[in-house]
């Protein structure tokens, strides 16, 4: 087990370094002059020279990378060109809001997805199963922006139940929660996409559990159907879902970009999107790095949780 953890940690570290190099290269090979993109086409050569000097853009690429890494180790992700604030501050402001959005939507997706999956497994290959699977697959195949706009058309324009955008100036998590009528729709859009994964995965696992000997034994002992489902089938089906939750974390962050830009949710996705439009590289670099690291941590946590919860993996790999 120890060797397994050490190896996984080593891999994770290598991947983090890889993400750093990858994003840095990607953002700096972009053709065109950054200074011009930021200052405008009418910028004078002198202004451009000052800009390049201020942000170290006149240095060779490898030096820029060394400086970037050095700053990183001091907890500094650079200064935003446009917003003139430290990138770490910008990200630190947004991460808690994303935690609220992603947390709520994941919990909602699990609450809907796991029972549906179990229900589908119990009735597998019958009409209810096919109908539910068809529904989830269709929703999963529909683009996020379409779902968002249809929900807005129905619940905001038609019935005035929820708000379509956040009022500006929301800064705190408490403010977000207070503005719950604006929070509902983005949470709904994000969870719609996760439900398909959670429910179908639970279904596959539960079908295997239902066919296994211990379930038959439990039923033969006279345990009620409900008890067997709760105690044996549900528990054993939950295990892989934990992995999925860990791994789906970055999915949701990326998916949130669409939802955030539609609903004007002040999170990481919107920050990334706005900085992409304004060629604000330090912010894009920082955001990509944070999301990449979150991905690595998510898959690491999922793997380790799996190892802790399933002794077969723990002993099998040691």
């Amino acid at each position: 087990m120890t060797w397994y953890i050490v190896r996984r940690l080593g891999q994770a570290l290598a991947v983090v370094v890889g993400v750093m190099v990858l994003t840095f290269i990607l953002l700096h090979i972009e053709p065109g002059n950054t200074a011009k993109a930021v200052l405008g086409l009418k910028a004078t050569p002198a202004r451009i020279a000052i800009f390049d000097h201020t942000y170290g853009l006149n240095k060779p690429l490898y030096q820029q990378f060394v400086i970037y890494v050095d700053q990183l180790f001091h907890g500094n992700l650079g200064i935003s060109y446009q917003l003139q604030q430290p990138v770490t501050t910008l990200i630190a402001q947004r991460l808690p809001r994303d935690a609220v959005l992603l947390g709520l939507s994941t919990v909602l997706a699990l609450i809907v997805g796991i029972p549906t999956g179990i229900y589908q497994a119990v009735n597998h290959n019958q009409f209810a199963d096919d109908a539910l699977a068809g529904t989830w697959f269709t929703l999963y195949s529909a683009p996020d922006f379409l779902e968002a706009f249809l929900l807005i058309a129905l619940l905001c324009v038609q019935f005035h139940v929820f708000y379509a955008t956040f009022s500006g100036g929301i800064t705190s998590v408490g403010g977000l929660l207070a503005d719950w009528r604006a929070l509902v729709l983005p949470v709904l859009v994000l969870s719609i996409n996760s439900v398909a994964g959670f429910s179908q995965y639970t279904r596959t696992q539960a079908i295997q559990s239902l066919a296994s000997d211990y379930v038959r034994t439990a039923r033969a002992k006279g345990l009620s159907r409900r008890l067997v489902l709760n105690r044996h089938v549900l528990r054993n089906s939950l295990l892989p879902v934990i992995t999925i939750v860990g791994l789906s974390f970055p999915d949701i962050v990326a998916g949130a970009l669409i939802a955030e830009s539609i609903f004007n949710f002040p999170g990481m996705g919107l920050l990334f999107w706005q900085s992409a439009l304004e060629h604000d590289y330090p912010v894009m670099l920082g955001a990509t790095l944070v999301i990449g690291v979150a991905t690595v941590i998510g898959s690491l946590a999922a793997d380790l949780a799996y190892g802790v919860l399933d002794p077969r993996i723990r002993y099998g790999s040691s």
Binding site: V15, T23, T288
Partner: protein, 322 residues
Amino acid sequence: MAAPSALEQAAEGGSIQRSRAPGGLTLRAFLRNRRTMSGLGIVVLLGLFCFAGPLVYHSQLVIVNLNIINEPPGPGHPLGTDEYGFDVLARLMQGGQSSLELGFAVGIAGTVLGLLYGAISGVLGGIWDAVLMRIVDSLLAVPTLLLLIIVSSMFSLNLFVIIVILSVLSWPSVARLVRGQVLELRTREFAQASTGMGATKWWILVKHMIPNTLGICVVTATFGIADAIYALSVLSFLDIGPPPPFADWGTLLTNGVNNLFNGYWWQVYPPMIALILVVLAFRQIGDAMNDLASGGQTGRIYVRRRRRMGFLQISTQFDLRS
């Protein structure tokens, strides 16, 4: 070794049976499967609609006619007109062409790249394999949408450039999948026998590894098509796709939802139905083929995709441990 292997049996004079896995992804199984065929039927119909349709249904899509913008369905325009006065039905055919062309090109190119990379990594093994796979992991760690936005802003886009970008971004998960398969195949008897007879790594790669991973590649390519069409629609929505004369179903749908609150429903539902149908059909085919390949299980094995927006992210999560 507890049981004598097939080779040992053969050496002792026993007969080698041509062993076949039950089920399996064969052409015959594909043709007899209800789900693959229904998906294929939808794809063929949509393909005919987009490529043969314009031969029958003529409408000019060049000159903007402001006299007939946003007209509801009626005589002359069965599905109405859009905000430029173009016929929605004709635009649907035109948009579908680029969506389908892109889907097929990216699905195939991304899979071929991934197949080569993964197979080479698996055959090389050792430190090379570790390095090559960490590169894949790094690419997978950044959500594809972010990479797509970064890369798309670098180039002036047209259909070909988009195809290249999406292909380059979609291979890593295929590579990981193929590499896992190759690692497993390397331990099999036919590979060992081949090594024993003096075959080089590269001979085994070409002769055994690549042919044996083709099944899984057909599945991933099918998902890749769906994902590429989906990704293009998202790009179009974010307005970082190719500039205006270009249209795909995503462009039409985006224009439609922007006019949703004017009540121009005929601009929303046709591209919506087309886009969902095509994505659903390819995923249905891929999913059913995946079931066939994994031994004809009756259960709908949900091919877990690692990212919401990610393409070709197929059941990689348990592979992390290998």
